[in-house]
């Protein structure tokens, strides 16, 4: 099982990258990794702004990844292109993969791929900027399979970089159905699968704090959070 940590730096979670948890504030990923004696910490961000802090506090334990939105063609700026969007995670496993690969990909996404402030990539750009040491993970939620099946999108994927497919279980209604589809697709296309667990907060009871945080971002409230499908408290680690 691989834990995929999302940090508050990308407004994804209520977990910080500080050395220690301060008072009753955000739980520190660094501290959690120490408590659980982790050799590696897989950190997934939406942009690379947290890298200096993460590297400073996690050092060689850090495996840094960025979750990208991929569409069919980054030059297509029409609303219709949204229906080709899905998520992938690209991890850099070496320093040069981070500098020469991941950073170039993020720069392309944030400049050429920008769509209303949203960085996007396509597989053409990924293939052009690919370097050794990068790995593509297909997240369990919001992947091309997930979006095609549950949202009726028309997303495509390139298998040339041998992506690894994540399998998760968060006791959500479509988990079993999606798992079946992921396993079928991976088997048919000779791709690896990996049991992963997305971590957004430390303990189950932290769900209320996490939801409050999402409501603040969303300008909603706990009585009417407007968070579609937000129905699991299992994105915890302990």
């Amino acid at each position: 099982m691989i834990y995929l940590f999302y940090s508050a730096n990308s407004f994804n979670s209520i977990l910080s990258l500080s050395e220690k948890t301060v008072g009753g504030g955000s739980n520190s990923i660094v501290e959690i990794a120490d408590e659980m004696a982790m050799d590696k910490v897989f950190l997934v961000e939406k942009n690379p702004s947290s890298f200096p802090l993460a590297f400073k506090n996690l050092g060689k334990k850090l495996v840094y990844g960025i979750e990208f939105i991929v569409c069919e063609n980054i030059e297509d700026k029409t609303t219709g292109s949204i229906e080709t969007q899905h998520k992938i995670i690209i991890f850099s496993t070496t320093g040069s993969a981070y500098n020469d690969g991941l950073m170039k990909l993020y720069s392309s996404a944030a400049t050429y791929g920008d769509y209303n402030g949203q960085p996007r990539l396509d597989f053409n750009t990924i293939n052009k900027n690919w370097v050794e040491g990068l790995i593509i993970l297909i997240p369990f939620y919001d992947s091309f399979l997930y979006n095609n099946l549950l949202l009726g999108y028309n997303c495509n994927i390139s298998l040339s970089k041998k992506p690894i497919f994540c399998i998760e279980n968060h006791d959500l209604p479509y988990d079993k159905i999606i798992k079946k589809k992921v396993l079928e697709f991976a088997e048919q296309n000779n791709c690896e699968t990996l049991q992963t667990h997305k971590v957004l907060y430390k303990r189950k009871v932290d769900i209320a704090s996490f939801q409050t945080y999402k409501c603040i971002q969303n300008k909603s409230n706990m009585e009417k959070p407007n968070l579609e499908g937000f129905a699991s408290n299992s994105f915890n680690i302990v």
Binding site: I82, N116, L150, L151, G152, P173
Partner: protein, 236 residues
């Protein structure tokens, strides 16, 4: 490629061969994850095309905490609640005799976005694990109403029909597509507006009472059997 049904399997002719349970929860608020629980459950059981059971159970909680919005919308009356509410375990067990019975088709209005999650909150509140086993034999009438508005016909297979309903349930999920899609929908698809549009009549007008809403949902579904080519292989 969609193939037109030859007729003999269409639910408009065959629905009497199936058993249905139509349900609706009234809740403290609209949270799907925590700090919420159902306080009323309405359901009807339909066998041989006829309603054989009508239930409108209030669920007794000592820590009931209904939001002001929910009180207003459902015309919640605390005295009536106190006098009629039943033991939660009893309410759940009675309902799950139908919900978890594989012979029943489970019908709801917006259940794929709301009621199925609320059912799990109910179970968790009673210390039980979640159980989504009824999901695959569900009909979300809201999805069918959206299909009717958009002039979509259902796909051929049962699996495709299931995902098709989900896609219609999540039709507005992307914020940037919402306004375009709302225009395409051409009007509201709330239960009351669809009932009016489809000329469905149920005596009384107790909108947002569990039992009244499920009766209307059932009538809307029956009307949609004639508008959409839903056949028995879509649900069995």
């Amino acid at each position: 490629m969609y193939k037109k049904d030859t007729g003999q399997n269409l639910l408009r002719y065959k629905f009497k061969d199936f058993k249905f349970v139509v349900f609706d929860y009234e809740t403290e608020n609209l949270n799907l994850c925590c700090l919420n629980k159902p306080w009323e459950l309405g359901y009807i059981v339909v066998e041989n095309g006829k309603i054989t059971k009508e239930v409108n159970d209030r669920i007794l909680w000592k820590d009931l905490n209904i939001s002001d919005d929910a009180k207003r919308i459902t015309k919640f009356d605390i005295e009536e609640y106190k006098n009629t509410a039943k033991d939660p375990k009893e309410v759940l067990n009675n309902f799950e005799r139908y919900l978890l019975d594989k012979d029943f088709i489970v019908v709801h209005y917006n259940g794929l976005n709301f009621d199925m999650y609320i059912h799990q909150l109910f179970r968790k509140k009673l210390g039980m694990l979640s159980d989504y086993s009824f999901l695959y034999r569900s009909i979300d009438v809201l999805s069918l109403c959206r299909a009717y508005r958009l002039q979509y016909q259902p796909p051929e297979t049962r699996e495709d029909f299931f995902f098709w309903q989900t896609q219609l349930a999540l039709y507005y999920s992307h914020p940037k597509l919402r306004s375009i899609r709302k225009k395409q929908m051409n009007g509201s698809t709330t239960l009351s507006s669809m009932a009016k549009e489809l000329d469905v009549a149920v005596s009384g007008d107790a909108w947002h009472s569990g039992l009244y809403d499920v009766k209307v949902t059932w009538e809307v579904l029956k009307s949609l059997f004639w508008k959409l080519e839903i056949n028995s292989s879509h649900i069995k």
